[in-house]
Symmetry: D2
């Protein structure tokens, strides 16, 4: 059985990665690759790596262009998804990578985003307890923010196991540059980025409420950094131990939480996650320990920000919503070195 | 129909890429991943990106370990393939990425390689005229050198079309660092390579006789450079025009040569190849023109040195030799950005 | 007035950077560049960027080779400085970049380093209160660890101002690859590092006791990461506020602490440190704020790990010890982009 | 004796590098740092690495703002220098990094540049025979193009020595991204460039006539590539030998041509140039040999495109024009690794 998928926002980096995954997906076809200013252009003029698209062109981003789609994937700038979704038929399935419909709490939305809260859809992180079934039963799914995926999957098992305090979680995470999109800006030029690491949005990142909602944390300090690499997020999550916790306890909590999960891998003792190992995949690598001096629990996670952090998880949700094998068209084997 | 494949040299970068491709290949299974000093270790201890291999371990590199393989892929250091091949049954199919069996001329071998010439196998570049059929009919195939793939595919159409002279071809090509392997050396350290470009083996690269043999060139000056990127080869090939040749003539010669080829793409006018577009693929990008000042023909090609330059072409040959679809398990869509 | 300087460990990256700074220093000359296995080789064979050394060669690392030096700079592997220092005349000034003589507490030494504690020298961080004068009056100075420089300078002003708690400090810091030295190892190969971020020594970094000693912190969780760049450290330091602390309070504490300091720059509001801005310098960039969700104070610092993190601070100390202008031969202007 | 220098185009990368060099120059002071849209802004808002400029701001680019300058350095987009120069007093010395006044032949100008030819100034490459004296005697100097510096210095000694033919020279050169400036463009984003090499302006680069004029070459095919590094040019220059030429002959021709030159270094046999070794310097590294298969002479040169390729040579020319030591404020020691 093959389904038709439309992509809104296909000229961006996340949209391009969706197109890449769908081009080699055994059961999903791209019926429309929607863009705005690029509508009408060759897909390969914007994404020269997507050889399979040959002479195909971007379509406009309209309900008409997407009419034949069984499912619409939206990789639009934050705030634009709600308006488009409102124009699509209620029965047309949607996975939205934008932040518009992730938060349950309107006040949390208003604290970090402009404009009114658009409502809440099913949260698209299948590895959370009960969430896989909820996604499969939904027509509207709000996929997870890139830093949020990496941080929630590292943090929640600690809280669920009761070994970490939900208060005073500290997260420092670094992302590759594709997370900042492909609109030209001076600070994203190769000349500026190569050889450089620097923080941004310090003290107020918009993924904080989403991480709290999905992990159960009560307070999070999160500092993001831009790293000189095209892809990848590495998130270092530290939390206070609730008692006498060992590295083995941390490892066991992670292993238990992800037993049987295809895309999440708790590494062997002594191995630590590397973004390179997740390049091009929907995989998550995790490892944890306890700090010698402070007794804090430290868990590090690595993902591909365009994979499990964006296009990969979106295709994973689409597979679930359409009744396909969850891993169809997705890999856990990184393109390395 | 599924076939069993053994890999000799699976702990190197090219071997790791073969394992990656086979892990997601619909009709080929890895029956043994042979190594030397790493035999007995977890595959993921050496290749932490190959999540699918879980708890599997490297085997020794012996005929016994490979006994159940329908086909053996060798990614061994140059000079070691011949000895191993001699121990394998005559009917067991082999694709060898080493240089041992590429050259027809023993004198050419001796001019660039140590030790005696081991003989000649079918040359594993399916896009050459007649070669696809020869490979499909062979049990022993010698795959192509990484620089050679990029250069031959750029050069031969010019000579076949009679628009370029076979004399005085000049090639300057840059490779990512994975082409130099994963044995630790100071000049390959990240600290040394990032921000650096430098030439090596200037004036005497061992791929020259192979390029001449497969392209028909009479004389080649080839200078390789090490580039600060993990993968990719970009080859700039220039040749003297035989007469009044235009950019359109060059483009037409390339298009004609690769009409219908799945992995070779002659770009649209104005687009030039980029290694990034071929990252993780078996694809080749080509573009050409005529130099304004000198009248020389210039053709640039881009490949992934571990893809079409190594593991990709090897899997492509294996597919042909086993009667599978030539593109099975291979993609043309690069992992970019 | 010109002084003679000998360098022990001149074939490593830190030693090479010392040679670079001394080559263009107006009042310091290199009388001997000591090495072990490289003794007798051309300096430019190991450091091809140090053009000014022309046909000079490395000397052995012996008291005889260093006899004419007014001051000896040691950039040896941790644990080797003490043995060499014991052989040098008591009046010969020494700046040691090794960890051997940094710690006051023998128990702290033993918790993180092998071998017995060698004793304590003047701690070589001139920007700490009173330390400039102590260094100028010393013949033996123990320079600061690279992560320690970046972290102490960010943290101590918060504790001195009483706005941050010394308990439960959390530090996540990323370093360029030159911090790991130039001995060839697989995990430091360019192929492995480019595109990759990964943590190491998680939960137990040897700079923790040094940071506590020099900053007054009571408990520190520190996680270091390897970043895909040749140089630079970015340290994100978070600490609990002691009361109702604002971003302006944090900024004011930093400004007050470094008023008049030549090498430390607290950035304008809205600007955050970048390792690129400190490339090739002895400069430190700082900026801070208060986290919106958690109320934690966040201060980020950037240095060149081979500059203020190693060779730069060593030359700064040498200048002080010899009565030269503190900034002689050192710059605050980064080589960027 | 100290002189006042004004910089026009100080907000670009080349202009920023001029500011960096002048900040640490013992005898030149920056009296005005002129910009257009950035006039009035802090210099460190655009160049956060130039710590020494503190609270200084960009000035407008006008004769009034530059009135007190003994010498004006222009790093403007090609075509803008002539208009500004026409407004400055005839006695005010100018070094122009733009192409406007480099070419002697108006037809050559018109073949590669838009607009009318503005006339010819003294060519600012002091290492050419007789040129050092010409520059010192000039009030108007046209500095050399970045690819031109690297290529001319590699090529001319071969032609002067009569060992290479001026016909059919083939050049392939790669540049770091700073050569493309700091105006934001999608193809220059870090996401696009890291991991990528690609050619541009294939077959028609504007530096070709300049190289021919200054080297004596009759015909040049030049292909430039963009490399994933912030700085550096590596130029591979090949030319047909005029007879039976050996590697020793090539080496000897280079050594003879640059005997006594402070900034040009012909490497020892076996060493080849690397851009990393020239990072942040005004140095040139050269090495050559003869190709085994074709007999072509191959010479490779490395420079910092912002150093000897731009700001370094401009300061070198300014030193000569003002009667200062030629190397004042310039180094030959690269910032590496």
């Amino acid at each position: 059985m093959t389904y038709q998928v439309a992509v809104a926002g296909a000229s961006g980096y996340a949209g391009g990665e969706v197109l890449r995954l769908l081009a080699d997906h055994p059961q999903l076809d791209v019926v429309a690759a929607g863009a705005h200013s690029n509508a009408g252009e060759y897909i390969t003029a914007v994404h020269p790596h997507l050889t399979a698209y040959g002479d195909r062109r971007f379509t406009p981003t309209t309900p008409e262009a997407f009419a034949e789609a069984d499912l619409v994937i939206m990789t639009l700038p934050h705030g634009q998804s709600a308006a488009l979704a409102a124009q699509l038929p209620a029965g047309q399935k949607i996975v939205d990578l934008g932040a518009d419909h992730r938060l349950e709490d309107a006040a949390a939305w208003e604290a970090y985003y402009p404009g009114p809260h658009a409502g809440t859809w099913t949260y698209g992180l299948p590895e959370l307890p009960g969430q896989r079934e909820a996604i499969a039963a939904s027509t509207r799914v709000a996929a997870t923010g890139c830093y949020a995926v990496a941080t929630i999957l590292a943090l929640r098992p600690l809280l669920d196991a009761g070994i970490a305090s939900p208060e005073d979680v500290v997260v420092v995470a670094a992302s590759g540059t594709s997370g900042a999109g492909n609109a030209p800006k001076k600070n994203l030029l190769a000349s500026e980025v190569m050889g450089a690491m620097s923080p941004y949005k310090v003290g107020a990142h918009q993924h904080v409420p989403e991480i709290k909602q999905a992990s159960g944390a009560a307070s999070i300090s999160m500092t993001p950094l831009l790293a000189p690499m095209p892809r990848g997020i590495i998130s270092t999550v530290t939390a206070k131990a609730t008692g006498d916790v060992t590295a083995a306890d941390v490892h066991a909590a992670l292993v238990k939480a992800y037993d049987g999960e295809h895309f999440v891998r708790v590494l062997r003792e002594g191995q630590w996650p590397s973004t390179a190992s997740t390049f091009g995949t929907n995989a998550v690598q995790l490892q944890g320990t306890v700090d010698k001096d402070s007794g804090r629990i430290i868990v590090t996670s690595a993902i591909d920000n365009l994979g499990k952090g964006a296009a990969g998880q979106v295709v994973q949700c689409a597979n679930l919503m359409l009744g396909l094998p969850e891993a169809a068209g997705l890999t856990v084997n990184g393109v390395a070195p």
